[in-house]
């Protein structure tokens, strides 16, 4: 395996009734002692997002985080650019703990080093396609002309040339997500976070997008953290797969590892259902 880009170290996240309240500390304590999600919730009233996740994701490849709804995938990936702060644990990117960053440094991280694509696209409805793609560049202070020029290049790469002046609500779901992808790629960050980026699309377009992703990745060699609840998608895209369940890691490894040596019954059930389909 090549060098580590992202290290997640024993990260816990609980959602208490009050952020940072005493219940949260107590919930983390219980989780450490091995209590499960349901009993912690009953005991403290805290919702458990992550219950001690450790993983190392390598540079320049696609890592998939897989799990059923509610398993904590979105929560985990939002820790990587600190849209969510952990209740306990550390997150290292390029060897330094991003939890130590000041607000200004964090902004720099988000503007230059980590970008993100969202399941619901998160496009600005009042701004046309080209300016949506240029958003990240505009935010970090590049001139409008330059930002638009770069944005046009990325629009072309995702195949949306000619739609510059349309507004998001005039596009289909697949096209909107390509705008989201172009926006994320435009800031040219090393790390790309994709939270169920293709889940809202129908199977054919989804397949298309996966192919396009793989083609792009061939050229770009980015560190991509790809979230999905679909084992097929994970196996097809991922060079490395992390399977989550109730905020805990069930198994990590290459697609072959997981296919051939399921660590437990839970993972096995995924595989069986897949071969049945």
């Amino acid at each position: 395996m090549s060098e580590a880009k992202i290290e997640i170290r024993d990260v816990y996240k609980v959602f208490g009734p009050r952020e940072g309240g005493p219940q949260e500390a107590r919930a983390v304590e219980l989780l450490r002692q091995g209590c499960d999600k349901a009993s912690v919730q009953a005991e403290t009233g805290c919702n458990v997002g992550l219950a001690g996740v450790s993983a190392t994701l390598a540079a320049g490849q696609i890592s998939c985080i897989m799990g059923l709804s509610g398993s904590g995938k979105s929560t985990l990936v939002r820790h990587l650019n600190r849209l969510i702060d952990p209740s306990a644990g550390q997150i290292l990117i390029d060897g330094s703990n991003i939890l130590d960053l000041s607000m200004a440094d964090l902004r720099e991280l988000r503007r230059h080093r980590v970008s993100m694509v969202f399941q619901n696209f998160g496009l600005l409805p009042h701004v046309n396609v080209i300016d949506n793609v240029a958003f990240g560049l505009d935010v970090r202070g590049e001139s409008q002309a330059q930002a638009r020029k770069k944005a046009a290049v990325w629009l072309e790469r995702v195949g949306l040339l000619g739609y510059e002046n349309n507004y998001p609500d005039e596009l289909s779901g697949g096209m909107r997500q390509r705008v989201g992808l172009a926006r994320a790629l435009a800031i040219d960050a090393d790390v790309l976070l994709m939270d169920e980026a293709f889940s809202a699309l129908d199977p054919l377009i989804r397949r298309d997008m996966q192919d396009q992703m793989l083609a792009l990745q061939q050229r770009l060699q980015k560190t991509i953290v790809f979230i999905t609840h679909d084992i097929d998608e994970a196996l097809r895209l991922g060079r490395y797969i992390v399977i989550l369940r109730d905020g805990k890691v069930e198994q990590m490894g290459s697609p072959d590892d997981i296919r051939n040596h399921p660590a437990n019954e839970y993972v096995e059930r995924f595989m069986v259902r897949r071969s049945a389909a």
Binding site: N81, L83, L106, R107, E108, L109, R110, R111, S115, M116, F118, N120, F121, G122, L123, L124, P125, H126, V127, F135, G136, D138, V139, R140, Y167, D169, E170, G173, R183, I187, L193, S199, A200
Partner: protein, 647 residues
């Protein structure tokens, strides 16, 4: 229910039989047994006189009496139609309705209730001429005697809204004295030195004088005696030329050649409807004799204002303490009945001061405290508030108004056409809206329309400057939202008259308090809708923007504010509408414009004038409403397939 009705019917029948019985002892039943209705007059001398008359009628002549409130024009018309029988204080030559009714024989005016008549004229505070050693005030105008001295001293009375001139505080439009003073000002050529400022309402006039006197500031105004204010403060009367009946008549009526004259010493009398006078010669005889000495009247008024006694309480007090005075007005046996009816002395004599209390409630009324605090504040910080006021005037109101006046009418109409087109993209709107405004101009209300529009525009601008930032902060802070919610509720529901007078005393009469009162009423929807709009922004979009490292400012300007725009525009639209709704109220404290006409229409029963101005307000409202609403709509036609959110 049926039983109750029967009981009531029985009771009233008994009463009906008993009344004539009770009156048997007298010569004739008072007013043929019908209730005598007296007008409820709200200034002190009249209220006092009314209650003295009422008490004597009730206990001395066995009349059933009733007190009926109403605006002066309404009361006077009612008297002419015998819906009312008595107005206990009428000033000779003050009201055209009364004059007309006298000519037609519908009203009779009897008696001379104030010995020597009532003085009226132009006044300044006495300390201006003689200084006030006690308060450390120097005499600023020691030589101000005659009206001819006024131009020399105009800088003392500077009108903040028109700094080159002094301000002469006239009566509210619609009062007879307003026209009289205006003609006199013109006749004396004082108009080039003084603005003729109408107070809007009597309360506004009083408040302005009160506030100026308490702060030791100069003020030039019209006033009359006897009145509470005259008893409370020491004023100096500006001398006029000698009295000439012919000239005075011309000044009052406005007909014929004007010539200079002193004010008439008005005769105060009791006005009764003619049918009433015919029925009750004995009562008319009493009114003929009814008369107070000015000194006594002033003492009564002073006490009423100082101790905030009602006219009813003062009347009781007077009857008790001065039997020698009122016995002289009445036949022996009537006087005896009045005396017998007086409750034994020593009983609590404050009949009207404390409304019949329910035993379980302690007396926690805070009105005295508030009054004291307000007066204290006017004295202590009046200067600061005036500076704020001057700033608002010079910085916001006057520039906006000057701008409005600088645009010629056709330019303004073109501008409205262009705006309508730009906002709605409908040719009909671009023609119709200017046409509506043209109609207002054709009604002769163009200047007032511009004044009103300037006030609405200025208060909307200030509301935006205050409301949007506050809304933004409130959207973020839950604490502020919690605090703000009840405050905004109060601002919207508190009757505006409640804060109108305090605002006036602090900020002075005219446009600025009108502006503030308007803002208080108009800003809450903008704050609410800004907060609402910001909080309704799609959290997914906010999160996405966050992931790209926006600063707070960028989040606001690039994401949330643009997305909240429809809501904020709806807020601005609401604000302009509410500002327009305040136009009439604002005119009560001396703001010029369409509201002035509506108010004058009410005060003089000039229905046409009021209606016309009302229609103009509605037209202005519709035009502003349509244009601002159009700006709130999204610019682009939306595709039907906009919201498809799986989740």
């Amino acid at each position: 229910m049926g039983k109750l009705l029967r009981t009531l019917a029985l009771a009233s029948m008994c009463l009906a039989f008993m009344l004539p019985l009770a009156a048997k002892g007298q010569a004739a039943p008072c007013n043929a047994g019908q209730a005598v209705r007296l007008a409820d007059l709200n200034w002190e001398s009249a209220s006092f006189t009314t209650h003295v008359v009422r008490r004597i009628l009730a206990s001395g002549y066995g009349c059933a009496t009733e007190i009926v409130p109403g605006a002066s024009a309404a009361i006077e018309s009612a008297l002419a139609q015998d819906d009312l029988q008595i107005i206990a204080e009428i000033w000779s030559g003050r009201s055209s309705i009364i004059e007309e009714a006298i000519r037609q024989g519908k009203i009779e005016v009897v008696g001379d209730t104030l010995a020597g008549g009532a003085e009226q004229g132009w006044y300044v505070p006495d300390f201006l001429v003689h200084g006030d050693a006690e308060r450390g005030i120097e005499a600023l105008a020691p030589d101000l005697r005659n009206w001819r001295d006024l131009p020399r001293y105009k800088s003392l009375f500077t009108d903040p809204e028109d700094p080159g001139k002094g301000r002469f505080l006239n009566c509210p439009s619609g009062w007879v004295c307003e026209a009289t003073n205006s003609r006199l000002l013109r006749l004396h050529g004082l108009e080039e030195h003084y603005t003729n400022f109408r107070a809007g309402t009597g309360a506004a006039l009083d408040a302005a004088i009160n506030s100026a006197y308490d702060r030791g500031r100069p003020i030039l105004f019209y006033y009359w005696q006897p009145a509470g204010l005259m008893a409370k403060y020491k004023f100096h009367r500006i001398e006029q030329d000698p009295f000439e009946q012919k000239c005075w008549d011309a000044i009052v009526s406005g007909d014929g050649d004007l010539c200079s004259s002193d004010f008439l010493r008005a005769r105060l009398s009791v006005a009764v409807s003619a049918p009433f006078a015919d029925r009750n010669p004995d009562l008319v005889a009493f009114f003929e004799k009814l008369q107070f000495e000015p000194a006594l009247m002033n003492r009564m008024i002073l006490e009423m204002t100082e101790a905030r006694r009602s006219g009813e309480a003062m009347a009781d007090r007077f009857l008790r303490e001065h039997p020698d005075v009122w016995r002289a007005w009445l036949p022996q046996e009537v006087g005896a009945r009045v005396a017998a009816a007086l409750a034994p002395a020593g009983m609590p004599e404050i009949a009207g001061a404390a409304p019949a209390g329910h035993g379980i409630f302690p007396d926690w009324s805070a009105s005295d405290l508030v009054n004291r605090q307000l007066m204290g504040m006017v004295k202590e910080y009046g200067g600061v508030f005036r500076r704020v006021s001057d700033f608002m005037l010079a910085g916001v109101l006057l520039p906006v108004e000057r701008l409005m006046l600088a645009i010629p009418p056709w330019g303004f109409l073109l501008l409205v056409a262009a705006l309508s087109w730009h906002a709605t993209r409908k040719p009909v709107a671009a023609v119709l809206y200017p046409a509506c405004l043209y109609l207002v101009g054709a009604m002769g209300l163009w200047d007032k329309l511009m004044q009103t529009f300037a006030l609405v525009l200025a208060s909307t601008l200030v509301s935006i400057v205050i409301g949007i930032p506050l809304g933004i902060v409130a959207a973020r802070s839950r604490v502020l939202r919690r605090v703000l919610a009840p405050v905004l509720d109060v601002m919207q529901t508190l009757p505006s008259f409640v804060y109108l007078i305090p605002v006036l005393m602090l900020f002075g009469l005219g446009k600025v308090p009108a502006l503030f009162a308007t803002i208080i009423y108009a800003v809450p929807p903008l704050i609410r809708l800004t907060t609402l709009g910001l909080r309704q922004v799609d959290p997914d979009v906010v999160e996405a923007a966050q992931a790209f490292g926006v600063t707070r400012w960028q989040m606001l300007t690039k994401v949330t504010l643009p997305l909240a725009r429809p809501s904020i525009m709806a807020g601005i639209n609401q604000t302009t509408m509410m500002a327009l709704a305040m136009v009439v109220v604002a005119s009560m404290i001396g703001a010029r414009g369409l509201g002035e006409d509506v108010l004058a229409g009410i005060q003089t029963l000039d229905v046409g004038r009021g209606l016309q101005a009302g229609v103009a307000i509605v037209i202005l409202a519709i035009v502003i409403d349509r244009i601002t609403q159009a700006y709130g709509r999204p610019r682009r036609q939306r595709a039907a397939t906009s919201e498809e959110k799986p989740r």
